[in-house]
Amino acid sequence: MELLARRMVSGLRHGLHRSRMVGISTDFNHHKLYATGDALKHIDWKASARHDRFYVKRYIEDRSLAVRIVLDGSASMLQASGGLPGKYRQGARIAACLGYLVLKERDAVGLSVTSSAATAWVPVSSRPNHMLQILQTLAGTQAQAQDSLADGLRVILDRHETRGIVVVVTDLMYDPDPVRLELGRLHAQGHEVLLIQARDVMEEDFPFNRWVQFSDLENKGVQHRLDAVLLKRIYREEYQALLLDWRVWARKFGMHYVSFRNEEDAVAVLTSYLAVRARMGREI
């Protein structure tokens, strides 16, 4: 997984740095009218002389970036069809790549793998060897039990982690309301939320033309035996409606939403997203 992350990120870093160097000042942000209490050393005298007012220079706060990656570790992420990598595996790949990328930028990254059975927690750190801990956590954790993403997000709030980017890698196959509540809180506290949805081909296409007995991966014993032919259209409608709902909701809160199928190449998905993000002036 580390090799994969290295290979992926080595291709990304060049683009990222170049974008950072072009046109944008690293410190100065904007001018502000002087107010009582402002330090005099920040007065821009040249600008004050030109406008006959005192202007104070404002600078971007120069802090390290904290990225918290939350990976959905519920059993539904195990869904894999047609020999393709499962949702969890794809999500883990993306998490590893992002972690590696962040650490290379000497920013801090943390990882949470959430499920109702157990939640793996890797604190945010920028130490170079922190990547090893992340990879060990990804490799040593199996998707299991029920979804517990809302709880995992609430932990971030409860721990008052440094504001940064929260990357949620999940399949979104659960009741959205609790998760949205927590995501909304994170957003309200200044976290930038990035939703990455992993979709399984079979789950989305619903390619069945006969009677099928569906066994719920998260809840053992829950089964549905039905004629898939009758349900196919409605299921697809519901599936697409759920995707659209998440997309609309994410846009409404200014969150980035990336969705990909497990048949797609993770490198391409991540590359295209980072390129878009770079054009928007965002960092990673």
């Binding site: 195990l78 399949d171 069945f208 006969r210 569906f214 549905h224 009758l230 759920l242």
Partner: protein
């Protein structure tokens, strides 16, 4: 609703196949571990009720589709027309041909048997309460059932089983106009059962015969390549009187009506019911042939012969019966003047010679003179010579009396001869040059004993160039037809140097034979029960005359027996006419009856005539067989056999050709079928409407569309 293939309805359970498949597929469902259960449950929650409804609807649709397929193969048909006519009442009109031709075919598989099978199946298809009529057509149509309500199938079948084929012939051209009023109308379903015999349908195509377009229905043609028929047209003995021990020739006329020649048809003659002779006959198409057999009866009395033709399609016309009376001998009385020398001087010795020759006793005279009393010889001819005055009773026992031309004829003798003929005797008049023509003409004419007036008698020089000869053909009497061949001698070589010329024969008299110059040779006058024969020449002893030839002995024998048969009324009668029996009642006579073909005897009331009684029995038309007069006595019954024959018009089985069928279908637009399956097919198509092809297809399409609308797939 009815089905043309009801047997396929057993496949109806297959319509449940979709249900079975539903549960099978449900049982054998694919097991999938599913992560998107949240979406699945949302979809299920949204469609929970709809899913069940659609499931049921889909199963129903599929079951209906399977049902439609099964029904499509079972070919459902509507009862639309039946329902339409049910209110007015279906009226089944059966017209059944019971002519003799319906008996054609192999035993057990005749046209009639096939007709019975069709009738039986047809009646079984009727509904209770439907009306039906039955017209049985023979020589005339008879409505046996007229608009009766069909309630009891057993009774209806019993009526139909009671119909038997007859002997007559059907002429549809004559019959259809008589019955056509009942053959059409609302609700009438006409089924005409007949064969395709050409002569039966002859003339139907003539305008106005059957009423153009008036007939519609079905013609069940039961004929099956059984058209080659031969028939015995008639069988008659040469004379209804024979002599015991002497051959009695029976003439049998057979004819082949088929279109292919036949070979080796066995023709058998049975004597009193026992096999007697057999001959194989080969006939060309349309050929008639007359065969003859000599049958010898040993015992006197009434006898009969049966003629039977074997290996033939139509059995009813293969038999014929002929009766004959056998006498111990023919008693001949010759009347002449004593001491007369003339025509019969040599004729009489010839008779004597003939008697001995036929008896097989050469050189031994058994001829009795007047003084010697009646001859008691046992030969076939028992001649007696009567000279001088006759005494009462002289002629009583004679079968034939010959009046010599030289006999002095007195009114007393004329009266005696009159009585003799009236009592059944046969009189041969043999005038010659010595005959007193005037007195003969007067006295015999007065007594109605002269078939033709005498003009004159001629005697030419022997061996001269003037003579008369007979031809070997045109013998109207069957007994004499034998002389048309050479087998009994060539009578045409006989020259007559002495003969008489006659005037126009009297009413009731017929010229039996003429000379070569067409002048009469033999004139016969039947005076039932007696007969008078007038000979122009022959019984002459002169050299070169007829009786001088030995080969003319059979001629003499037949002439005498034929003459004597006048007292024996014909033992073969034509059906439709009366059979007569002349008999002398025995002392213990009680009554008379007539029995036909072993049926019940019918009592007769004989009328008295001179010297006996005559019993007359009507013979119905269309009846063939063996009849018998029963003379009832206190001790026993005397049976006299009579063959009942007649022309069979129905023997010609040749079928209508295609052109003929087209012609008769113009006035009779009947749908021709050959058996019950074909009739059933037609009846179902017309009586119960068309097939539900389109409905079945529509049902199937509806199921398909239903599936497509539901965006489902077929199993």
């Amino acid at each position: 609703m009815m089905f043309l293939q009801p047997g396929l309805l057993w496949a109806l359970p297959f319509a449940l196949a979709p249900l079975v498949i539903y549960f099978l597929m449900r049982y054998r469902s694919l097991r999938v571990a599913w992560g998107a259960n949240y979406v699945l449950e949302r979809a299920l929650a949204r469609l929970q009720k709809k899913v069940y409804l659609e499931q049921i609807l889909l199963i129903v649709l599929r079951t209906l589709a399977a049902l439609a397929i099964v029904l499509a193969f079972a070919r459902p048909v509507s009862r639309q027309k039946s329902a339409a006519t049910a209110n007015a009442g279906v009226h089944h009109v059966l017209v059944v041909d019971r002519s003799a031709s319906m008996q054609a075919g192999e035993p057990g598989n005749t046209r009639w048997d096939r007709a019975q099978e069709v009738l039986s199946r047809y009646v079984a298809s009727w509904g209770r309460g439907e009306r039906w009529s039955l017209c049985v057509v023979g020589e005339k149509p008879v409505w046996q059932v007229d608009g009766e309500t069909h309630l009891d199938p057993a009774r209806t079948k019993a009526i139909l089983n009671g119909v038997k084929p007859g002997e007559g012939m059907v002429s549809w051209a004559r019959t259809l106009p008589l019955i056509r009023d009942k053959l059409s109308g609302p609700g009438v379903e006409l089924v005409l059962i007949s064969d395709d015999q050409a002569i039966a349908w002859e003339g139907v195509e003539k305008p106005g015969v059957a009423g153009v377009g008036a007939l519609s229905g079905y013609w069940v043609n039961t004929a099956r390549a059984d058209y080659e028929n031969s028939a015995v047209l008639q069988a008659r003995f040469g004379s209804s009187l024979g002599v015991a021990g002497q051959p009695c020739r029976i003439y049998i006329e057979v004819r082949h009506y088929g279109s292919e020649p036949v070979e080796g048809l066995p023709l058998e003659v049975l004597r009193d019911g026992a096999f007697y002779a057999r001959e194989l006959v080969s006939l060309l198409p349309g050929q008639s042939r007359t065969l003859s057999f000599d049958v010898i009866f040993d015992e006197p009395g009434s006898h009969y012969a049966t003629v039977r033709l074997g290996k033939d399609m139509l059995g009813s016309d293969n038999m014929a019966y002929a009766g004959i009376d056998i006498r111990p001998a023919v008693k001949v009385v010759l009347l002449r003047d004593p001491g007369r020398s003339g025509k019969f001087d040599s004729a009489w010795p010839l008779l004597e010679l003939s008697a001995r020759a036929l008896r097989g006793e050469a050189g031994k005279s058994r001829v009795s003179r007047d003084s010697q009393g009646p001859s008691m010889g046992a030969g076939p001819i028992m001649p007696q010579l009567k000279e001088g005055e006759l005494r009462d009773g002289y002629l009583a026992g004679a079968d034939v009396v010959v009046l010599d031309g030289g006999r002095t004829l007195t009114p007393e003798l004329g009266g005696m001869l009159r009585d003799y003929v009236s009592s059944g005797g046969a009189l041969i008049l043999a005038p010659d040059g010595a005959t007193d023509i005037q007195s003969w003409n007067r006295i015999l004419a007065e007594k109605r004993l002269l078939p033709a007036p005498l003009i004159r008698c001629r005697t030419e020089r022997l061996a001269g160039d003037r003579f008369q000869t007979l031809t070997r053909s045109d013998w109207p009497l069957s007994a004499m037809r034998i002389f048309e061949t050479d087998e009994e001698g060539d009578i045409g070589h006989v020259r007559f140097y002495s003969w008489c010329e006659f005037g126009k024969p009297n009413t009731g008299a017929q010229v039996v034979k003429t000379f070569a110059d067409r002048t009469p040779f033999l004139v016969r006058q039947d005076d039932r029960p007696g007969a008078v024969l007038l000979l122009a020449g022959g019984l002459s002893g002169g050299a070169g005359n007829l009786m001088a030839r030995e080969f003319c002995l059979p001629y003499l024998m037949r002439l005498l027996t034929d003459a004597a048969s006048g007292a024996v009324l014909p033992r073969v009668v034509v059906n439709g006419e009366a059979a007569n029996l002349f008999f002398r009642p025995p002392p213990d006579f009680k009554g008379a009856a007539f029995q036909l073909d072993a049926g019940l005897p019918v009592g007769l009331t004989p009328s008295r005539v001179k010297a006996g009684m005559i019993a007359t029995a009507p013979v119905p038309a269309g009846v063939w067989g063996l009849g018998a007069f029963l003379v009832l006595r206190e001790r026993g019954v005397n049976r006299v056999w009579v063959g009942v024959q007649g022309e069979r018009e129905d023997s010609d089985l040749r079928p209508l050709n295609q052109d003929g069928k087209k012609r008769i279908k113009l006035p009779c637009p009947l749908v021709e079928v050959n058996d019950w399956p074909q009739l059933e097919e037609q009846l179902k198509a017309v009586r119960i409407g068309g097939e539900y092809h389109h409905w079945v297809i529509l049902a199937l399409l509806a199921c398909l569309v239903g599936e497509m609308v539901l965006e489902r797939r077929f199993i």
